[in-house]
Symmetry: C2
């Protein structure tokens, strides 16, 4: 039987709210994910929250009832609370019906099986959590083997990144690695490293993408460093017909990923 | 010679800060855009801010000097201020060197020349300002003729949308219209209305996109209403290989727009 918490001053609520900050996530090894859709997706991948907060109004929803039972069976705790507290946890004015607190997870380069997918996403110094989450969501859609984060990237477990991923945080493996470690791993097996660049004449549609292709996306403001570009097997460019000379990083990654997918489907 | 304002209590600063709210933008017919890159792009399209706020530290930058001169020549006012006030205006902790206050502008369906571009973007009930700005930025890159906003969309002149557009707000014509008015206009000339949908077997790569193609993107959470889909000349779907069944709206729009561009370039 779930216990109830209705006071903002409750120590557990204070602790969970702290997970909105990266420092507390690191200390606790926990992160927040909100919404029935995302939590159901997480459950389907075998991940249940250690704590599940839900509103009384949502308790009758079959998916919520089922989620509560699953969390309790797995030894987690389901807690009935009020919309204002859900709002505080998620940081949104109109809170979702459920907020889950999950243990952080990630994988390592050595645990990746590069033969398992034709497309892999690699991003370096990604700064925007919305872009990171959106790239994960695209990765899920194109069946990417994983997202490899190089250098100082924004935290994939931030509330904003988890929200933008729409559940793909749970379905797309994430690895954090240094550029050097990534290159050593990459060159230890088959794989083509493809970078998006403005300094090339290779049109992205004219190039050929063998499986596995590793798509490298550079920092939003600066693109990738020259030595990263030099390490790529292939640099390609997207046509830019307008007055600006760049696309949003998540958009550019998606256009590339769908081109690779289209070629590999044939 | 630019005047200086260093006090938060200055009435002009208070008034300009108010433009972060939609209500005040509507009353004043003004909006905020920040950053040297965006303001320079605006200038190249013939738009100068009515007020230009700059920091003393940036005053020596040749592009800032040139912008100040252009604003003053055009009858606008350049105002030297402090980083804290630029921060308040832009809502960012690390403010850009310049913030401009522009008069709002938009165009009408009747002013659009559909023969001027092969791709047109149409979005209905778009809710996220970042998505709207990102779609504008993609529109600039693919040479779209304009962005037509149907129904209750987020305000394209919000600070977040302007920022995400990276200047494309100034280069891509924007029209706001009702669905009915749009359909009447659309059917008054050549043009194929293409909608992204999950309820079709038409793969987006197998379809053919004649110029002008109007790409319709539905609401982020709900997609487009059934009668909108029924009014499309063609519904297409993107492959979804993952556990989720959707892409970010700006990403889906971009993948489609680049496919149309690739076909029309041939």
């Amino acid at each position: 039987m779930p216990r109830q918490i209705t006071a903002f001053s409750n120590p557990l609520i204070k602790r969970m709210r702290g997970l909105r900050e990266k420092r507390h996530r690191r200390e606790e090894g926990l992160f927040l994910a909100e919404g029935l859709r995302i939590l159901t997706e997480a459950r389907e991948t075998g991940r249940l929250p250690a704590w599940l907060f839900f509103s009384k109004a949502s308790a009758g929803h079959p998916l919520v009832t089922s989620l509560i039972a699953a969390v309790e069976t797995a030894g987690g705790e389901a807690i009935e609370t009020v919309p204002d507290i859900l709002s505080k946890l998620s940081g949104k004015d109109n809170p979702q019906a459920v907020v889950g607190v999950f243990e952080e997870f990630e994988t390592s380069l050595d645990a990746l099986d590069r033969s398992s997918a034709g497309i892999w996403l690699v991003a370096e110094r990604l700064r925007d959590p919305g872009n990171l989450g959106t790239i994960l969501r695209t990765g899920d859609a194109v069946g990417a083997g994983g997202l490899i984060l190089i250098g100082e990237c924004v935290d994939p477990f931030s509330v904003e990144a988890v929200r933008a991923s729409m559940g793909a945080l749970f379905t797309v493996p994430i690895v954090r690695a240094s550029w050097d470690a990534f290159l050593v791993w990459l060159r230890g097996g088959p794989g083509q490293l493809v970078g998006l660049s403005l300094d090339t004449d290779n049109d992205y549609r004219a190039a050929h993408y063998d499986a596995p292709t590793f798509l490298l996306t550079g920092n939003e403001a600066q693109g990738m460093p020259a030595d990263y570009a030099a390490a790529c097997d292939l640099l390609v460019k997207l046509p830019m017909l307008g007055k600006a000379d760049s696309l949003n990083a998540a958009v550019a990654t998606a256009v590339m990923a769908y081109e690779v997918l289209a070629q590999q489907r044939c």
